[in-house]
């Protein structure tokens, strides 16, 4: 981009008359002016940059801008990521301590609830602490998100109230998959799926308002079982995992989120 041309665009930027060339502060990033003509100076820019450009403030175009503060991500997302990251790290340290502790003959120590139950530490002979703990943070965070979707349901709430940990029987009672164990991607996703389906046994009894949702969910559950990698919903709602105050819609959203999110991750995660 020649100096002159750059100056010209900055001039246009300031003048309000020449709308076709794009006098708005965002238009400098656009590939075409309002008249449809491709701008030479931005011919080599990807169109995909438009979206990001439009979020940039005026100061971006000047060299003395304040810096890259929160240009793409918003603070809400960033803090949630920070929280997720620190939670996972804390869980990891707890888990490691638990595993290492179980190597010593102090079995009657009460093991608090967390990412895995006491049975895992007994299994530690099969998965010795050193080599077989999942440590990749991206993976752990992704797995934690999937677990969170499941735990954010009414069914889960009712389940943990009804069946205390010491009364849980393997096979009968759903058990949260242990995110720290090494599993393949498909294996993990399948475990999550099965766990979620099992939790449905504790769904709240069908009431007036929830009848419709109940039926929908059961259908989706069956579809999920039979067709592994098929899109089960065309719903394009956003991926945010938090509630909107209403517990019922939370459950539905959470349930519908998982397959979409898993699908999305499958697509984007090629490894």
């Amino acid at each position: 981009m020649s100096e002159q041309q750059k100056y010209k665009y900055e001039n246009d930027y300031k003048s309000s008359e020449d709308r076709n060339k794009g006098a708005s502060r965002w238009s400098q990033c656009r590939k075409r002016g309002a008249d449809g003509i491709l701008r030479k100076s931005h011919a080599d820019e990807e169109p995909g940059k438009d979206q990001r450009c439009s979020k940039r403030s005026e100061s971006f175009t000047t060299p003395e801008s304040e810096g890259p503060v929160s240009r793409i991500k918003n603070w809400g997302d960033e803090v949630e990521e920070q929280e997720m990251r620190t939670n996972v790290r804390r869980d990891f340290h707890r888990y490691r301590r638990r595993i290492l502790a179980s190597d010593f003959p102090q079995r009657d120590r009460k093991i608090s609830s967390g990412s895995s139950d006491s049975r895992d530490s007994r299994d530690s002979k099969e998965s010795p602490a050193k080599g077989d703990i999942e440590t990749d943070e991206t993976t752990l965070i992704r797995r934690q998100k999937q677990i969170n979707y499941g735990k954010n349901t009414l069914a889960y709430d009712r389940y943990i109230k009804e069946v205390p940990k010491h009364l849980r029987q393997p096979g009968v009672h759903p058990k949260t998959p242990n995110k720290f164990k090494k599993y393949s991607r498909r294996s993990w996703d399948q475990q999550i799926k099965l766990w979620r389906v099992k939790l449905h046994a504790w769904d709240p009894p069908a009431e007036e308002g929830s009848d419709f949702q109940q039926i929908e969910e059961i259908d989706l559950g069956e579809i999920m079982d039979f067709e592994l990698d098929v899109e089960t919903t065309e719903n394009t709602e956003s991926q945010c995992s938090s509630s909107n105050g209403a517990a019922q819609s939370l459950q539905e959203d959470a349930f519908m989120e998982t397959p979409k999110k898993m699908m999305k991750i499958e697509d984007s995660d090629m490894s």
Partner: protein, 243 residues
Amino acid sequence: MLPCACAQLTASGNESTNARIPRGSLNMDSAWTALDMETQTMLKTAIKDPKTVDLEKLSNAVVEHSLKDLSFCKDAGRMCYAVVQAEAQKTASSVFRRNLLNRLQQEFIAREETRKRSMQEWVCVVTFICSIFDYIKVNNSPIAALVDPVYDCLFGLAQPDSLMNEEEVDCLVVQLHRVGEQLEQTNSERMNQLFYLLRDGFLLQEDLSSMTRLLLLEILEFRASGWTLSETAHKYYYSEVAD
């Protein structure tokens, strides 16, 4: 000794009438009553039963009010944290925190224009952001996303033209007293740079008011002694001096 050594540091720009720079008088009551009744009620309910409240609306109301009321800003962070914790514990969600921060981010992005339009509002924005940074923690750590924005605000306040304005200087030193130490722990290099600015301002800017000089000197000394004041220094800056 400064020529104006007899000048005591009063609560310039602050509501309270102590001779000290109040370290954010942690009086929740004043923060509550500053709000209108509707918001007050929403807040109390949100802490007791977050599910029943429109948290997005509440976070907007809180930010809106903070822009108008400087005394509210100081303790607003604590109140907000109470809501954040209540929501996290009782509903395992973070709608309030997310909306609050995003709204705050908008104010932050628009800070230049805000400052031109209203100095008071600008000072409120800074105070509120720092209050949030001070009170709202994530697993016992400060919110990482706020570190650079807080620094950006403080750098803004440390600019030569801002140092000419006592309202801004007051805000600057108060915030540094409150969050300076934490801020330095998260990024010491930027704190160094900030203090170079303050030192330069103090030494080189000839047209600063004597109060400004005193405030700057105090904060320079405060940081140099590890974010605390020795007793003698405290007496120097904060005692009532007989005329």
